[in-house]
Symmetry: C2
Subunit: 341 residues, 2 copies
DNA sequence: CTTGCGTTTGCAACCGTATGCAAAACGGAG
DNA sequence: CTCCGTTTTGCATACGGTTGCAAACGCAAG
């Protein structure tokens, strides 16, 4: 591979001239640019990002930490985030992790070693030791779809509390009497806020939870939780809010194919995220849509403000979701008719 | 951030000593290692990957190019690949692209600029100009789930031809009379091979295709294709092979919810991939499972053989799939009973 | 033809690490 | 204690760029 020195020699100019031609905003005459670009093309020279990173201290790489890729919400988010960053000249380095804390520390250390310009953490919590390392290294972090009590990080979420409350109203106005809640992993802020909002919404109508089980954001655990909640020996809920679509689908299949219950005639099901599968007609999930595009845009903005701008304080962004009414739950009068998409 | 020089100074040793302590296999006395590690810990020093990459010419980064993340097969593969590479000390840089060729060229150029040690291309074809650039740069490429007539690249696929043929046998022995095929994107080798295998299997039984439509590997296009294939004004197939699960689900929903047909009573549906959703009980897709784990392992092996070993020739690996029998198609006598998972 | 100012160019130092080579230290045998 | 073969260590250079600074240049005004 040709280096800038090769190009310089062949073009009869200094190496720094070559560098400047490939540095946006540097001072170069048209004649020089012409000449250099010509010989660069001849040698098919392209600047070496690694060397550039070394001197500038900026790598144009964003580290992305993800735990679940089986919950379709994340692949979609990852895809959009990657594209948005690509469009800005950044690249994404992927890191998979489990929820276990020790693992995450290793993983994030690995990220920092690569001198990333920023980190996006999706669906995962960061230890505060790690937080120290990041601030110390001057690497901005954005929590995507999570918040933490630590206020050092920027975060981008949808209004989980408001969404939960709205779903409570929806079920109450639908005339449901025995309303259950199927929780996600209790370490997650999404779970806590959605449940809190849901309870608040019920309370506002003078109601409470009829049943509660935890599905841990996992398909199989959610199945088991549904079986417990709908055990044959007692009266079962006539409506449930499942904390995300991924679990809601597991729940619906158990209800229909194991318990012999009809949805929505016997049980209404609502959930959160609006992943693509929610629209599949076998499920037709009434779900609170996360504003993924805006969340991605806000994430990129927050990163750029820190990296390229001079912003120094973390942002905490909460964006409103939208209720997508489909067929998995009885529809109260006055609410939207089922949407097609 | 502390550099190796800082550590060296504080420990009273040379910078190269520090470097050697962090270079596996270098010659260092125990006393030296001890001393250096201690002060390194004190300064919480970690070697800078960028600088290391610059001198060694190896970045320990693998570029991963993906087009679709909405077909769940790919997120799953990406997850496993990322983990497998992480386990070997490599990291994955993600690149999203569309199928359009010009775009891919830009994207891969971006990858090469980062001095990646290897490239995995999933679900996408590479132009031969690009191929030149990669060989020239000495960067090994593995095509994942695709093959190309270019034999310069390694490739890892499942036996699409054999899988298609097996599904044909399955449908024929199930006693189906009018067998249709719903194709994927015709530019893809997966599509071509599965169709060829399927046709061969039918031919072996003295049969042919009753209907053919193209769904382009896209949800909405597959829906439209299904509508055409099952138009009311003519006799419809009593079985179809849909080229992947992603489209098969679209097809099943159209059959059941638009055409009022029962699956499998009126129409048998089989497909390919065995994505997680295929096991969902609302679909229960009989599908040819891709051996994703082995494919990932083979991909990593092929890369490592080129990067760390001295292998120079491309590998072309084809792994056998496995038929997972569920409920979406009539089951011929003598074939496995429905599997649960 | 000077002078002066703004632009373009080259020089040289630096980013943080790896590594070939020679010097130094070590250790065992005689 | 000396000598010699092995480690172990340090020195110096290289990797491929960026960038502050000063020299060179271009051009218009005096």
């Amino acid at each position: 591979m040709a280096s800038s020195i090769d190009v310089a020699r062949l073009a009869g100019v200094s190496q720094s001239a070559v560098s400047r031609v490939f540095t946006p905003g540097a001072s170069v005459s048209d004649r020089m640019r012409e000449k250099v670009l010509a010989t660069a093309r001849a040698l098919n020279y392209r600047p070496n990002f690694v060397a550039r990173s070394l001197t500038t201290g900026r790598s144009r790489i964003i580290g992305l930490v993800v735990a679940y890729l089986d919950n379709q919400y994340y692949p979609v988010a990852v895809e959009r985030l990657t594209k948005a960053l690509q469009a800005r000249g950044y690249h994404v380095m992927m890191f998979m992790t489990e929820q276990t804390a020790t693992n995450i520390d290793d993983v994030v250390s690995g990220i920092l070693d690569h001198q990333v310009d920023g980190i996006v953490v999706a669906s995962v919590a960061m230890s505060s030791k790690l937080a120290d390392r990041c601030t110390e290294a001057g690497v901005p972090v954005v929590l995507f779809n999570r918040i933490q009590s630590e206020d050092r990080f920027s975060s981008v979420i949808s209004d989980n509390f408001g969404g939960g409350r709205l779903l409570a109203r929806f079920l109450v106005e639908g005339g449901h009497q025995r309303i259950g809640y199927l929780a996600g992993w209790e370490g997650a802020s999404t779970q806590r806020d959605r449940e809190a909002g849901f309870r608040a919404g019920l309370a506002a109508a003078g109601r409470g939870l009829f049943a509660w089980e935890c599905g841990n954001y996992t398909f199989s655990v959610a199945e088991a939780a549904t079986r417990r909640m709908f055990a044959a020996d007692r009266e079962h809920p006539d409506a449930i809010f499942v904390c995300n679509d991924h679990m809601a689908i597991a729940a619906m299949d158990v209800l229909r194919h194991e318990q012999g219950l009809r949805v929505p005639e016997d049980v209404s099901v609502v959930s959160y995220d609006d992943v693509p599968q929610a629209a599949w007609r076998s499920y037709g999930l009434t779900s609170l849509r996360q504003p993924t595009d805006s969340m991605v845009a806000a994430t990129v903005d927050a990163l750029m403000a820190r990296i390229e701008g001079s912003e120094t304080d973390p942002r905490r962004i909460s964006l409103p979701g939208e209720l997508i009414v489909r067929t998995s739950a009885r529809i109260p009068a006055g609410w939207d008719a089922p949407t097609q998409s």
